[in-house]
Each structure stands twice: as structure tokens, then as C-alpha cells.
Symmetry: D2
Subunit: 367 residues, 4 copies
């Protein structure tokens, strides 16, 4: 796992900069025989597209995807699926004045430290637009999971101090909230909080929660191939993420073993179930058949329209006031990126897991 | 990254079960010319060895390491380093009665779901003894980092409600505390809390913090090879970890951009520095030259000596009371495992990063 | 190494079918700071372009490359380089009649056996057009090698019984021969042979030789990362290759040790050299500083315009007479593909090899 | 694929030097539920053990294998299988005088060029003893193939000018011939030839052929994951191999398409078959269900007991006369190594191939 390629069997290779010709992804290792067209991908890309509410950048980005390979007569062929989103609305002049400035909270300085120079236009490869490739590939993964009865849903769990209440969260509320917060009261309060911060030319942080349901038990590998470790690492690779937890998460620090252990019982259908789910659906790195519940903390957008102290590429201390068009909050558009990373991780583990047992391999090849 | 092999250039392959013949690791991709002997490894293994305080299992495990290959005349040769720790003190009879029981909070059920059966002796591959391979390999990585002026230190930050205070934490205190808590007052309070829980046949959770200092700026790759993402994923692969955060971590949810951005300034030596370190030493997935600060939440030991409801392999609901010898707290012995995972991750990224720039490659090969 | 992704540090991900929207490649792990534009790539693509002589298919394929990412202000940025060649001249109707036929010597049957169906248009992913991605990525690798003083040249060594004579091969002859045979007498004889076979509606096989000069000693890793093993495997992945040999190759079977060992001596500049080069520039999988010499056997084009017995997808025995536009000889256009695979392999090993020695790593990071 | 780790799903990590404590391998990704004990491994190791005939080194090496992990109650558990062979008979003093000499045809010089120094005892990691790890892992792969009805057999096809005749080769002859040549007349002639060379203190080269039968059609991936490319590359990684070919191999150079294409027909059971097998069982990189036939050329043992010119580590030109105990011919003991590399490659591709089709994945997870 390095650079811009991810996965062991279901591999993706993403590319593109904010202000280059376009962005895209190649999916290598997608099985043959899945119905797939551009609309399947577009529905996910539209969820991350900006400009839909007053809480996202007013930039107009069409983000229309084209499938260039790997699909024939409406079905995947098993060969690489190349997907392209052309950049159409980028205004490079907006960024010219920051070419020589290291913006606080951004990767300008670290890119220069690593590569000696950088594509400064819109953040180049470190822009949030980089996630287009992830979401497009994630949409393909979602098509696979759908056929296996596995569903992934993410939403904004918290913005500033406003946390959705478990009993008030309804899936159908997600798209009703401009912040994708499924507790509509909290969503409204968070909107007020966000508006205040916007008026102060500031931005806000929060938490995205993601639930994977319908997972079979037995997915994930000890020791480094643990499903939770890979989910955590992959979600952590999304820009602005500063923490990931699963199940009881950081709450385990103040719990005792007797409080945190999930007791097993037999359900009415003779299946082994857990009475609680502090484990978050994973034990020993392997799915236990329960919902997988994951949370990721997103930092507030570093692009704020206030004056900030910093240095420039000549090593002079200066003040910078960022212009351009930026989201004051990341989570509502990041929700679909978290879903994508979860889907990519789960599909890859499902495929790796097919060779775990000799009896099943024999059945597969000898039937 | 899958199963028991980790890394891209500096690769490790761990193996072994709690009650098998032994445990070990093969390190592939270690540079030639590093002074290395068994004492270099043993010092780290001794930190995870049980039986040193009343808060760890009284099992006697010598855990003596033998280097079987890759070292000649006291120096690494560049070829694979195989290290072996023989199991000497395992009492398999202790575990015979849990062979058919799914212990709450353990991987018994998920291993059976995945593989069809399991080595139930002491948890087999899902035992904490699995970390011996990680620690031995981590010790080799530490030798490399040492030569580059990079230091890694982890300690118990929190046990139950007792959190070390930043101003009271001193590195020299770590080994003075039986819990490896560098705030000795909090350590004492935590000891009381832990003793109470032990008397109740229960266990406690907590948080380990890890600081990587001396990092050069420019290490880590966009997009999936981000240094924070890989650190998080790799630390998350340690058994019992339920959350990982870096820098301000989950605290970012309630912060605004103006609070969370770290302003840059020039220090007296003409170096670019950050006034604060909410980023935790990583921006855009690439090290910024500041300390990298990471925290991992560990769940309370699932092996508790109380009666618990569960099911057995025949699908019958039963009560289980775990016997044997188990730590009531994981963190003090896990500290060195977190250090190992951090060291392995950083070394691998340092090596991958050597080919980031053509000017440096040219200098390397054409000088 | 699987599917359409190759490499460990310098990774490429190719995609595209003969008659889809286009073909391309993403190069991940290319260092920053290399001058690169589309003309650098086009010169290599033009070498594999058809339609230039009477011995290649008269199909008109422009094969114009566009760089979509990873280059800014004329230099590589260190982020993925995505390159696209649009398909413009494909005539799908030519192939409609073979949709249900398993052509002898082609992958039609095996693709169906593997995937359940196939993109039959022009061979889909198994078409020779697949090599466009390899050549485009290889051109980037060539730019890197050029800066390190490493040169790669391939040419047609043999067609049918006509073998270039060592003393008559001149590099400047390669492009003078329509068959890219640097012994112009043999080239002329081979043209006669080929013309005869074309008149018989048949095709011919042959051998491509590739020389890598300017290699530093010390590149390649024992045991599975041997430079010769990776060169051989990667060149073998080119369609139609049925054998690869290095140095004395299959000739070693009839040699004795005293004949085949290359004696070392000191040259006038105090360098260690070999008196002969039966090893082909590689000892123990590691470059010895001498020219690396590799040969690949290409089978005759399977598409011949004669009637052949075969079966169809319904399992009926039939006769097929292939139409369309096909090369009667593969080598002249494959020469640049062999160069590309060699370049990709060498660059990847050069990068992996940068972390072989602690003294050099220390110098790299601590200077 | 780098250094000493091989494979994508069925991964092996080999280690050890000729004169270190021992040699071994860790197999990661072996399915659970396979009957396995040390005798299963030993039978293959015994085939490569020296000292059994007058044509192999008279060194006594017991090469007894111990399984250290991954097997419980006689069956694999799905976790890493660590195997160890201790070095018992190594006489380091034999090699002391070559510590400062670069032996012709050996990797002494290239190891020094790469690593700055080397473990010179018996060739260290570049010794033929390195193959112990390959053979032990290959034995595990063989157990898997056996259950799938796939058989792999290799033998010496040629020594010097003596080539086994197709019609005279019988499988049962392999072990009757001290050279593992299944044409016993040719074997006898080759013995004479070899004896002559031994009397001249020289060594001989030859060719090993390997047949994989019982393969299902559809195994292998386009483009870089082709079964023939991976077989070729992996067999090429065996020390002393200078060429690999499949099916008609280098013979294709002088064939026409009409001669080389294998026509398809329907057999009596309604299966698609090929009338000939010039393809060697692989079309487009994917198995076609026919026997896979591969040949590897082995150079003559470079250790010959004649005086040879060379240089030493001080850069002085000297004469060297190798002492010690060395095989005058490599093939008879390499046969099992070729089988091992073939088995490892095929198993890995079988596992990777399980996720090629959505219908089969669905059946696997939803039944």
C-alpha cells in the first residue's frame, strides 16, 4: 500500500489534481459480470459535488464521469475499469497569489519539503477534489456489496458540540438535512452554529459515523490484515481526518471488562448473536456478523477567510488572507468519501477471504 | 498488506501461536551494515514480558530471542533476518476447558466462523503473544531510526478516568511507574483504581500515547500512503485497540479552523516551524518536521474472572468463568508494541521516500 | 504483482481495450522534477504505431497521447501521471463475425473460460493495443534512465531462419530496416521470407534482443527480486512471447563451467570487469556493471488469413477464416514494448535498491 | 514482489544462509483445514538433499524440517506456517580462503557491490541452500494442488548434448536415473559425459522440463498477472537459470502461424480441446486446460576445481582454485526446486482467480 494505489485484490489507482485536465481512477481486480454504467457512478459523485447548499463552496463543478474501459454491453468484463472526470470550472488565477505562501493547516509546506516544488493550483493533489477517484471506485465496490446484501451508510454524527441522538437518527433524514445529520433537531442547531462561524470567517469540525450492515461473520485476517485496522487506516487516509474509532472507540478507556464485553446468545433462528455491540462488529480483526460501526473525526476546514500568520517560500514571515471558494464544513460532502473507503476495504477483504479454507476452495474448483 | 506480512520495502512476516513451538518474525528489506545482536532485540522484548509487576500475569515467560539469519560478524548483511522466541512455559491444560466455548470479547467465535476450527490453546494466533514478532522486528527498526536521529517513546496516558497531566509527564518517570504512566501521581491513583477492579475480578481500559521526535519534514506520500493513515492503520492492528487519533484527534470536532490551524514561523536557525502542533506533526499525510503525536485507545482485557453468559460451539447458551493467568490491564505491556508499530511504519516510509525526487536519485547513483 | 498493475515503487496501472473509448496508464511513484511532455511519450508510441510499412497492419491509428495529471510547468510533480490514448479508427463491424468463434492461438476461449464472456471486439484487452499503456509508461522510465546514463536498445535479432550476425549489427541500422533488424543483409533476406509467407496468407515468428548499457553494479535483490528474474517475467508478460533468455541463455545447456564462467580482471581505470559476458550482465540476480543482454522469442501472429479448424461458443466444430487487418510479423513493433518492459523493471529495481545499505541511507537523510 | 517474499495471496517469506544457524520459510495465506505434517515436507526436501549419488556433493546435510507454527491437531489453521531446517554440517573453514576472492560465475562481486560486504561462508544467501525455503513452501503448495487434482512433475530433459526423446520418457524412470533423466539411455550417455567433465575438474549445464497437468481452464490474469509470465519469472529466480520457455518456446522463431496455431476441437465428452499443444497450455496468459509445459536452462555449476583468473577484494588480479564440495551438475537436485516454484505460482493464481466472476462470488458468499 503506497502512494495512490490501494488494495490487494480489488485494487484502485487514483490520479489527478484540482486544476489539471481532470481526475480519475483505474479499478483493477473488479469481477466480470456486474451491471455497471455511468449513472451508477454519478449518483455517488453527485453526493460529493459542491454547490448544492449554502454550506458548501459555490464553485460550479459538474463532475461528470466517463467510463473509458472495462465495461462491455453494460457489464464489467473483469479487466481494468478506467473512469475520468474532466476539470471544467477551475479558475487558476484565484490561486496565483498563494503560489509562494505556506497556508496554515494545508500541505503546501510539506509538499515542498518532500518534492522540492508543488502544483499550487487549488492545492494540486492535496485538494479535496482528489477524493473523486475514491468515490468513483467506491461506487463500483458498492455495486458488488449490494449483490451480497451488504449496505454501507455514513452521515454526519456531530458538528461542533452538536451530537446526533441515537434514538432520533433516522436513515431517511440524512438527505433531508443540508448537513447530512440524521437527527434533524441537532442538524438545525448545527446550522445555526455553522452560520455564526461563517459570519466570523471561520470553519467547523465534526464527526462522521459509518455503519456497515449485512456483513457475514468471518471477514478479515489476523494480524495485519484485520478488518478494523484496514478500515481505520483507509478512512484515515481521507484528508482532514484526525482520528478513527470503531465500536465503543475511545470510550473503552473508562470502561471495565465486564462493561465492555459483549455477551453471546442464540437468536430465534439458531444464529450466534451478541447482546450488545461495543466491539463494533469486529472481534480479533474478523467480522462477527453484527453491524460494523466506525467514526472519523474531521478537522475544521483549514481554508478560513481571516488573516493568519505564516511564512512564504522565501522564508519570510507574512500574513495571509485566503480568498477563493471553500467549504466552511467538510463532513456533509465527506460522508460519501467515508462510505467509499469502507466499501473498498470490505470488498477487498471479501475477495482475499475466499481462499481461507480448503473445503471451500475445493468446492469452488471441483464442483 | 494482508495477513501476517507488513510493509512495502522494510517488510516483516510474523508467525506463531501462544502455545505452539514458538513465535518469530522474518525481516526482509533491512539495509546492510547495521550493528545488531540479540541484546538489541531482547531489551524491547523484555518490556513486553509478563510477570514483572503485580499488574501483569504471573506467567513466567522467558521470551529469549535467537537471531537465525541475516547477521554476519555483528552486522546486518541486507538479507532476511529471522528471529525466533521459543515457547517454554505454556500450560495447555489451563485452556482445555475453553476449547468449546466462545469467550466474550475474544476472537474464538470469529476464528471458527472464518477458518472452520481454531487452535484454542491460549488464544492461538489471536493471543497477545503474537506481538512478540512485532516487537522483535520493531527493535530492528529502532536501530535504524537511532542512526537517523529519530526517537520513539510511548507510555500509558490514561487508565480509567486517570489522565496524565502534560506538565507532570517526564520521560524518566515511565519506567518508575509500574503502569508506565509518566505522571507519577496519576499512576498512583490509577494503581488504586486498578486494584479495586482486580478485586472485583474485572479489568480496565486506557490510552497509550506515542511521540516520534526528530522526524525530517517530507516523509509520507499522498494519497493512500499518508504517514498518519499508515501509522493509524498499523497501530490499529494491535489487538484490543479500538481507536487511534493523531494531534488534536477527536478534539477537532469542537474546534474552529482559527483555533485548530497551526501558524508557521521562522525559528532562530532559519527553519520553518509551527507555533502549535494540533496537526500532530503531519500535514497532508506528510511529516512537517514537528513531533508526531499519536494516541491509541485499548479496551479492557476481555479475560475477566467473573461468570459471563455466552454460547458454546454446539450453539448452547452457557455461563463461562475464565481461569488461567491474564493481565488485568493491557497498556503497560502494550507500550512497547505501539513503539514497534510506529518504528516499522516510519522506517518503511523513509525508505519509500528515497525515490521522491530526481535530483536526489541522480546524486545517489551518479556521485 | 497481479492483473494490470506492475512494480513495487515505480508502479504502473494500465487499462483499455482494442475497441473501447481508449487506452492508457497511470504511473504512480514517478519522482518529482523530471522534464516531461507529450512529445517525450509520443516518440515511443510512434515506434509501435501500425501502418508505417507494408509489414504492419494498414490500420490507421493516430495513437496521440495526452498527459492528464502529474506534470506541472513542464516537470513531473511526484504525483500520479495519467496518460490517455483515444481509440479513433476502430471498426467494430470487422469483428462481429468472430464474436462467437474461438480463434486458434488467441485468448478468446481462455477469456470466456475465466470471465464467462468477453469483449470480442478486436481481442478486447488481449489485443496488442494493450501495450500502449506499457510503452507510454516505459517512456517515462526511459526519461529517468537517461539522466542516470543508462540506455536501452532492442531490435529484431531473428526472423524465421534469418539471424543477425553480431559483427554486422549496427545501432544506426535499426531504423533503416523495415523489420528493425540491424544486420541489413539479413533484414533483406527476412523481407523475402516474410513476403513469401504473406503471399501464403501466413505469418512468421522471431526473436527480439535487448541490451541495457550503463548499468551500475549492485542492482537487483536476492532471492525473488533478482534483476534477471524480474526482467524475464516482465518481458514474458508481453503477448506472443514464448521464451526469454539472458546472456548465454539456452546455450548454457551444452557448455561446461570452464567455458561459461566469465573471468574477472582489472581495467585500465581500476574497475573490476569481466573478460567475457556469458552471464549477460547479471550474477546472482544482481547487475555486475556489464551490458545486460536479453532475448525474447515471439510466436508468429496467430491471426492468419487461411481457413483453420476450430470450435465456436456453442461447442460446434467449424472452420474460420480471419478477416480484418493484422500484422504478419510482431517483432518490428514489439521492439519498443520490450524496451519499455526493460526500462520499467530497471527503474523499479534502482528505486528499491536505494535502501540497501545503512551508510547510504544515513548520508541521504543526514547530510 | 521483492527480496525474499513472493506471492500475492499465498505468500512465502524465505530466509537463511548456507552457514548460518539454519534456513527456513514462513508461508502466509495457506488455507485452513489441510492435513500437514513434517513428513509431507521432508519428502520434497530429501529430493534436493545432497550426497545421494556420486554426481552430487558428498557433503552430509540432514536437512530435517521442523514445523513451528500454523498446524494444530494435524491440520493447517489458516495462520502462518513457519518451517525451520537447522544447518548442522557446515564447515566454515573450507571457505575462509575465498573470503577475499571474487569467484568467476558467482555472486561474490555483485553482493559486495550492492551491500558493501558479504557473508562469504559457502556463498551465504546466494548459496543453493537458499532453495530449502522454496522447496518447503512448495511442498505445502503441492498438498493444496493434490486436493484439486493438479499434478506437477519436473525432470532433467537435457545434459550437455544429450536430450531425452519424447517417446522414451516415462515418469517412473525419473527416480531410476541418478540424473533424474526419464529417458534411461540418454541418462546413461549423459552419465558418461558428466564423468568425463568431472575428471577434467569441470561441470556441465542442461535443461529441466516441468509439466503441470490437471489444470482447469481460466487461471491467470491479463496483463502482468499472466500465468506464463509469473511461472517464467518465478522459475527464473532459481539460481543458475539463464532461460525459460513455455510450449514451443524459442522454437517459435522458425515457425509460421499455420504451423504454430493449435486448432480447437470437441472431445468425446463435449469438452473443448486443442489438437496440438504448441501453446504449452496457456493462451493470452490464461490456462487453457491442457498440460502446461515449461523448460528452464541451467548453467554449469560455476564452482569448478580448475585454476581460474579473477580479482580479489583489493582489486588485484589473481588465480583461484576452488576447493570444498560442489555438485558438478545442478539439474538433478534442481528438479524439485522447479516443481516448487511452479506449485507456488499456480496456487497463488488459483487463489487470486477466485474473485474473477460476480456470479461465483455471489454463490460463494450467499449460498
Amino acid at each position: 500500500m503506497a502512494g495512490s494505489i490501494l488494495g490487494e485484490i480489488f485494487k484502485i489507482s487514483t490520479w489527478g489534481e484540482s486544476h489539471g485536465a481532470g481526475l480519475g481512477v483505474v479499478v483493477d481486480g473488479c469481477p466480470a459480470g456486474i451491471s455497471l454504467d455511468e449513472a451508477d457512478i454519478q449518483v455517488f459523485l453527485d453526493k460529493r459535488k459542491p454547490g448544492e447548499t449554502k454550506y458548501s463552496t459555490p464553485r460550479k463543478e459538474e463532475d461528470k464521469v466517463t467510463i473509458l474501459s472495462g465495461v462491455f454491453e453494460g457489464k464489467t468484463t473483469g479487466t481494468p475499469i478506467s473512469m475520468l472526470v474532466e476539470n471544467t470550472s477551475q479558475k487558476s488565477k484565484d490561486y496565483s497569489e498563494i503560489a509562494k505562501v505556506y497556508r496554515p493547516g494545508h500541505a503546501d509546506y510539506t509538499f515542498d519539503a518532500k518534492y522540492g516544488f508543488r502544483d499550487y493550483r487549488g492545492g494540486g493533489r492535496s485538494s479535496g477534489r482528489e477524493t473523486i477517484g475514491r468515490v468513483a471506485a467506491g461506487a463500483v465496490a458498492m455495486k458488488i456489496l449490494e449483490q451480497l446484501g451488504i449496505h454501507i451508510t455514513a452521515y454526519t454524527k456531530q458538528i461542533g458540540p452538536f451530537v446526533c441522538r441515537k434514538e432520533m437518527m433516522k436513515p431517511e433524514n440524512i438527505e433531508k438535512s443540508p448537513l447530512r445529520m440524521p437527527d434533524l433537531d441537532r442538524s438545525e442547531e448545527a446550522e445555526g452554529y455553522l452560520t455564526d462561524k461563517m459570519n466570523e470567517h471561520d470553519s467547523v469540525g465534526g464527526i462522521v459515523e459509518c455503519v456497515i450492515s449485512g456483513m457475514p461473520a468471518g471477514v478479515g485476517e489476523p494480524v495485519f490484515g484485520k478488518l478494523d485496522a484496514l478500515l481505520a487506516g483507509n478512512v484515515f487516509s481521507i484528508g482532514a481526518v484526525k482520528g478513527v474509532e470503531i465500536g465503543a472507540g475511545f470510550g473503552v478507556a473508562e470502561k471495565s471488562g465486564s462493561e465492555n464485553n459483549d455477551e453471546f446468545y442464540m437468536d430465534a433462528f439458531g444464529n450466534i448473536r451478541k447482546a450488545t455491540n461495543f466491539a463494533g462488529g469486529i472481534l480479533g480483526g474478523i467480522s462477527d456478523g453484527d453491524d460494523i460501526v466506525l467514526r472519523a473525526a474531521f478537522k475544521p476546514t483549514p481554508s478560513i477567510f481571516r488573516s493568519q500568520k505564516t511564512v512564504n517560500t522565501q522564508g519570510e514571515e507574512i500574513e495571509v488572507r485566503i480568498k477563493g471558494r471553500h467549504d466552511p464544513v467538510i463532513m456533509p460532502r465527506a460522508v460519501v468519501v467515508v462510505e467509499a473507503m469502507a466499501a473498498l476495504t470490505v470488498v477487498d477483504r471479501l475477495f482475499v477471504g475466499m481462499s481461507s479454507r480448503m473445503d471451500k476452495i475445493k468446492e469452488f474448483y471441483m464442483d
